[in-house]
């Protein structure tokens, strides 16, 4: 005996169910064609168990065995690592672009032609010392004194402004650091929660919870944007997450969290809250914020402070030995101690006659001190690595420029790497409309064929029933 018509009806029914499942999976894929976090799914089908008949082993048709998510864990792991690297450099790039804008040192068309930069500390520095030169040719001129004091004020306020803006940038980076750490902790909680749901879904349904896996992968990649992570998959499809060598997520438990702490002097760093271990981070926006703040931004700020201090000390040391138009002496030219608080002595601003340009008491036509102050512009300073004020400033600007230029290159390289990896992942996990439309057509035709089979068997059964009744 063969399997019989009823068995064939069942076969047609199972085939229609299978093709319908295929249509459903295709529909899910088509719906998510533009979802960047979606990994395409395929319907796994196999022949249903065959039966032994008198004419041999006969097949019973087809059955759906599962819905499989097409992913490459290798590519995903690479993307996570590259996300950390990209985010690290992009954060640095943004911070250094801000620092460069704060510094305000640009070359303009006019400056390249006339040789006189119209903005920035470089120009203010040149103007101040040039004014002193002019004063040395007219040491008792009140108007020239006013020019010197005016441009000295401009120089001081430019130092103050850049210093204040760099201070704001540092505060912004610290605030962003705190925000990112909070976000990272939230993501750790989410991942642990998703681990729990994934493990439960696998036990309860004995199938892969593909959408939850996509959701978790998205969270892991977002976490990788914030910091470099180590992801260890477990047999029950959960993952463990470690940051800086400290385990943060184990299965469905958040075993530790990240915490911002003051390492001293307001230097905000990150530690594991429970373990109390300082985390050494090498990637992600959190490390980018710390490294930009403590690296190029701090170097720029330090360079400007040292320069301002040297200018204050050098100019004051000469000025104090001079005599004003009223015969007074020993006054400071600049007050303050660094870029943040450098200012022109208000007494001189109020009365330019008090500027001490003369080297001889009562000799108002003497220009010794004005000339000595002017000549400071070309003096080598040991406190500035044997450079003049201008050279030290130009070096500071170039150092920042070099840092940003290198960062720009890193960002460019990372963009290329990420683009390639995304393409690779897309070729594995991305939805192809052409492919899905082909599948749709295939499943539709198969469904129609199965329906036709059912219809044919039905007609055969009707014919058979007709014989019995007649």
């Amino acid at each position: 005996m063969s399997v019989g018509l009823f068995q064939v009806l069942n076969m047609a029914s199972r085939a229609m169910d299978t093709q319908q499942a295929g249509i459903e999976v295709t529909g899910q894929n088509l719906s998510n064609v533009n979802n960047p976090n979606y990994s395409r799914q395929v319907l796994n089908i196999s022949t249903s168990p065959s039966v032994a008949t008198n004419i041999g082993i006969e097949g019973t048709g087809v059955q759906a065995t599962g819905i499989q998510q097409i992913v490459s864990q290798v590519v995903n792991t690479q993307i996570q690592a590259e996300n950390s690297a990209s985010s690290y450099w992009q954060t640095q790039q943004q911070a250094l672009q801000s620092a460069q804008a704060d510094l305000g040192q640009q070359v303009t068309s006019a400056s390249s032609n006339s040789g006189d930069s119209s903005q920035g500390i470089a120009s203010a520095l040149s103007n101040f010392f040039n004014d002193l030169q002019t004063l040395s040719t007219e040491p008792n001129s009140l108007s020239e004194r006013q020019v010197v004091l005016g441009d000295a004020g401009t120089l001081a306020s430019q130092f103050n402004q850049v210093s204040q803006q760099l201070g704001s940038l540092t505060s912004q980076l610290n605030n962003q650091l705190q925000t990112d750490v909070t976000s990272a902790n939230q993501l750790l909680t989410n991942i642990a929660s998703l681990n729990k749901q994934i493990a439960a879904a696998q036990i309860n349904t004995n199938s892969s919870p593909n959408d939850l896996l996509d959701e978790r992968e998205e969270d892991i990649e977002n976490l990788a944007n914030l910091t470099n992570i180590s992801v260890t998959p477990e047999t029950n499809s959960t993952v463990n997450i470690s940051i800086g060598g400290v385990q943060m997520v184990s299965g469905d438990n958040v075993t530790d969290t990240m915490q911002v702490y003051d390492a001293g002097g307001g230097q905000m760093l990150v530690q594991a809250a429970t373990a109390g271990t300082a985390l050494t981070l090498t990637g992600g926006s959190i490390a980018g914020e710390i490294d930009a703040r403590d690296g190029p931004v701090a170097t720029l700020s330090g360079g400007l402070n040292t320069l301002a201090t040297q200018i204050i000390d050098a100019v004051n040391a000469v000025h104090k030995t001079g005599y004003s138009l009223t015969g007074s002496t020993n006054a400071l030219f600049f007050t303050g101690s660094n870029a943040s608080d450098i200012a022109v002595n208000q007494a001189l601003v109020n009365n330019p006659a008090l500027l001490q340009a003369s080297g001889v008491a009562g000799d108002t036509g003497d220009n010794t001190i004005a000339l000595q102050m002017a000549q400071l512009a070309n003096q080598i300073n040991t406190g500035l690595n044997n450079q003049t004020f201008s050279q030290a400033y130009d070096g500071t600007v170039a150092t920042l420029g070099q840092s940003l230029s290198s960062t720009d290159s890193e960002v460019g390289d990372q963009q290329t790497v990420q683009q390639m990896l995304q393409q690779q992942r897309s070729s594995i996990s991305g939805v192809s409309l052409v492919e899905e439309m082909g599948n749709l057509s295939t499943y539709q035709n198969a469904y129609e064929a199965s329906a036709h089979l059912m219809s044919t068997v039905d007609q055969m059964l009707q014919a058979l029933l007709g014989i019995q009744t007649s």
Binding site: Q97, D366, D394, A398
Partner: protein
């Protein structure tokens, strides 16, 4: 390689972004004419530009200093030339006032000499931009004050200046003084235009002596002493005029050097900062062409996708 539907779109968008980024950079260079604007554009070029600009700014200032000194020297020279004319006139009077001249003539000569003393004092009190040129660094008051008796004759001319001359920087580390002081009897330091113990010049006292000898009719003293002394004064003034001329020549030469240096620095700055306009325009055209091609390819891809869907319908 399997191609997902978003792969082509994402790839095209990435490429178009890259092209647009290049285009923006090139357009910026084309409109500003600058290859370097920000430190990060080219850090080492930026450092050179800033160094060159600082140097150029110094050179401009040295040029301004030279101009200032040239104007001072020019004004001072005019005064010294007036003084030379006065010395010549005094010499002529001393020569003419020999034993053949009558006392009324000698008195007339004396009046002329008194007048010459006044003129010389006036020349020595020449100002430039409110400062007295021949008082050394004590330049806020007239260096010479003429004292007269009730008859109008000059009894003395007092020097109120000092022996320190102000100097200004005309090149890095090079300072220059352009004018002598009125009097220097110390035997060292700045030259004295009226009085200098090293040359024996003492113009005002010699003129006063001439005036007094004319009034007293002491013609022998005039010929024996005054003429000789006045010759020393004249020689000293001539020497100072020659020195001033040499200094002005040096400044003219220095100004020319600074002018060349300024032009050279400007050229160097330009070579570091300026964009190669022809090259930029060529690259811009290439980039624009690439962008158009990418845009057309994107549009073509859209048509392709539609045709497949239409076919399946």
């Amino acid at each position: 390689m399997r191609v997902a539907s978003t792969t082509i779109t994402n790839s095209m968008l990435y490429q178009m972004n890259q092209i647009e980024e290049n285009q923006a950079q090139l357009e910026n260079e084309a409109t500003t004419g600058l290859a370097v604007q920000n430190p990060s554009d080219n850090p080492s070029a930026m450092r050179s530009i800033l160094d060159l600009e600082a140097e150029s700014s110094s050179v401009t200032q040295y040029q301004a200093n030279i101009t200032q000194l040239q104007q001072q020297a020019s004004t001072g020279s005019s005064a010294m030339e007036s003084l030379q004319t006065i010395a010549q006139s005094a010499g002529e009077i001393a020569t003419e006032a020999d034993g053949t001249a009558s006392q009324p003539d000698l008195n007339n000569y004396a009046t002329q000499v008194t007048q010459l003393i006044q003129e010389a004092a006036q020349a020595m009190n020449t100002q430039f931009e409110g400062n007295y040129l021949f008082g050394g660094t004590a330049n806020n008051q007239p260096p010479y004050v003429v004292n007269q008796n009730s008859s109008g004759q000059v009894t003395s001319v007092d020097y109120q200046g000092n022996t320190t001359v102000p100097s200004a920087e005309i090149a890095e580390g090079v300072t220059l003084s352009v004018l002598p002081v009125g009097a220097n009897t110390t035997g060292t330091g700045a030259d004295g235009l009226i009085t200098d113990s090293r040359t024996g010049a003492d113009f005002f006292n010699h003129l006063i002596s001439l005036q007094n000898n004319l009034l007293s009719g002491n013609t022998s003293a005039i010929s024996a002493t005054d003429l000789t002394n006045l010759q020393k004064d004249s020689d000293n003034i001539t020497q100072q005029i020659a020195t001033s001329g040499a200094v002005q020549q040096r400044m003219t030469a220095e100004a020319a050097i600074e002018q060349d240096r300024s032009a050279s620095l400007s050229q160097l700055t330009s070579s570091q900062a300026d964009a190669d306009t022809a090259q930029v325009m060529e690259q811009l055209t290439q980039t624009q062409t690439a962008f158009q091609a990418a845009a057309q390819a994107t549009a073509g891809f859209n048509d392709l996708t539609l045709s497949i869907l239409n076919f399946l319908q």
